[in-house]
């Protein structure tokens, strides 16, 4: 199982800047479960950066257990499946939640 720090720090590497044209947002991961922690993700002018903790006021907050975030970004479980099962919750503008899902080059698991 990937650990949350490794997964969150991998996000700039799987970020698809061409999908985020005109979409600048601060996103907070507010996590419980195996590795309770907070991470601030900043998407601005086509770049993506991550900081530990809550460093800025978020527009979108993703809540749930850290292991589900790992499953989402490693391609183990489709994001919509986690959201539908309410294992992950996305608090913030509906359209931001939808746009967020399209920003990542998530590996496909057979």
């Amino acid at each position: 199982m990937a650990k949350i720090e490794e997964v969150v720090n991998s996000l700039p590497g799987i970020f698809k800047p061409e999908k985020a044209k005109g979409w600048n947002r601060v996103i907070l991961f507010d996590l419980q479960g195996e590795e309770p922690s907070q991470w601030t993700l900043t998407i601005e002018n086509g770049s993506c950066s991550v900081e530990k903790g809550r460093s800025k006021e978020p527009k979108l907050t993703i809540m749930g257990n850290s292991e589900y975030v790992c499953q989402m970004f490693t391609g183990e479980t489709p994001p919509m499946k986690l959201v539908n099962a309410k294992l992950l919750r996305m608090k913030g503008p509906m359209m931001d939640s939808i746009a967020f899902s399209g920003l990542w080059n998530i590996p496909k698991k057979a």
């Binding site: 996305m90 503008p93 359209m95 939808i98 399209g102």
Partner: protein, 351 residues
């Protein structure tokens, strides 16, 4: 039964199921719903209440949009279409027939429903100003009761009351729309109906999306994407039998057909066509074209930006007398432009 039980009264099946869950003390299923078969779901009280409140916002919008397109916005004067007394009289008469159906079905279910419908008939069905706070209170009480492992009868009755009132008010506007459409066809011809719809369908596409996603659903406590997905997956079973056919690939496109086996709108319009001596499906364009653009907007709003959607009505109860078939076709795309566009159209400029 004045209206089709299959098309227009699925609400009764669901409220009957709700009473059954309550009597068996299956409170989680009562509140959160349960899949009944491959083609049917009991949505649960929380989703059902929000669904009815959101479509209750849609129906007055359909009526006012259509009348604006027909050049008869003045018919909307007063709460009962008093602008045209003849249409108003028929709308009132045919709505009474719907309430009579509700009473008949409530009698069949029993278990307190007849009294609730009788109360409804002796009071106003108009959506109260404080509907959202009432729903929020019921949601809070519902969650608290479930946490205690109970669900008092008065709490169930509170939920049944808001569903019954919404069902009645939704159908009041639906029936008024059918009466207005029938009057326009009778007085001005079928071409006038089609022209009214064509003149307004693209406006309706975004107006109804604003009514749903920016107004009614957030007020009903359905704002986060998980809640909205749940409502999308289960809500329409409040009044429909629905299934999707397996997806198929066509080149790079993925095609999914959604099949709506019944339609409350088509059922009401068919009844009004019959009572008004019109040909079957003479009024269908006034419902089906608006449904098609409403569906397209919903896909544009809810599908992620990795795909680009197209959506069309292939067959319908209102136009062809066959179950409604809507085709969703998605192709891989960089469609962030769509997300930004619908953000602005529905929710206003992003901060």
């Amino acid at each position: 039964m004045n209206y089709s039980e299959f098309h227009d009264h699925k609400w009764a099946q669901n409220l009957g199921l709700a009473v059954g869950y309550w009597k068996r003390a299956e409170y989680e299923k009562l509140y959160r719903g349960e899949r009944l078969s491959e083609r049917d779901v009991f949505p649960g009280l929380r989703v059902m209440g929000a669904y009815w409140a959101s479509v209750e916002h849609e129906m007055p919008l359909r009526l006012s949009t259509f009348l604006r397109g027909a050049g008869h916005g003045d018919w909307l004067a007063g709460p009962r279409l008093e602008g045209d007394p003849l249409v108003a009289g028929k709308a009132s008469d045919y709505f009474e027939r719907f309430l009579a159906d509700m009473a008949e079905l409530a009698d069949r279910i029993g278990d307190g429903l007849p009294g609730l419908v009788a109360d409804l008939r002796s009071s106003s069905v108009v959506m109260p100003e404080d509907w959202a706070s009432s729903m929020a209170r019921l949601q809070g009480d519902g969650e608290a009761a479930l946490a205690r492992g109970e669900f008092p009868r008065e709490l169930l009755d509170g939920w049944l009351r808001i569903c019954l009132r919404s069902v009645a008010n939704y159908n009041r506007f639906l029936i008024a729309g059918a009466c207005a459409a029938a009057a326009i066809v009778a007085r001005e011809g079928a071409g006038a109906l089609r022209a009214a719809v064509d003149a307004t369908s693209s406006d309706f596409m975004w107006e109804v999306s604003r009514a749903f996603f920016a107004t009614a659903l957030p007020q009903a406590g359905f704002e986060d994407i998980g809640d909205l997905m749940e409502l999308g997956l289960r809500g329409m079973y409040a009044d429909q039998y629905f299934h999707s056919e397996p997806e198929r690939e066509e080149g790079e496109a993925t095609v999914r057909m959604s099949v709506l086996e019944n339609c409350e709108l088509a059922g009401v319009y068919a009844a009004v066509e019959r009572w008004e001596g019109l040909e079957p499906r003479a009024l269908g364009y006034a419902i089906c074209r608006y449904c098609e653009v409403h569906g397209l907007a919903t896909m544009m709003i809810t599908l992620p930006p990795m795909v680009s959607p197209s959506y069309r009505l292939v067959r319908s109860l209102g136009l062809h007398g066959e179950e409604c078939r809507f085709e969703l076709r998605t192709v891989p795309a960089d469609d962030m432009g769509r997300i930004l566009d619908v953000q602005e159209r529905v929710f206003g400029p992003a901060e």
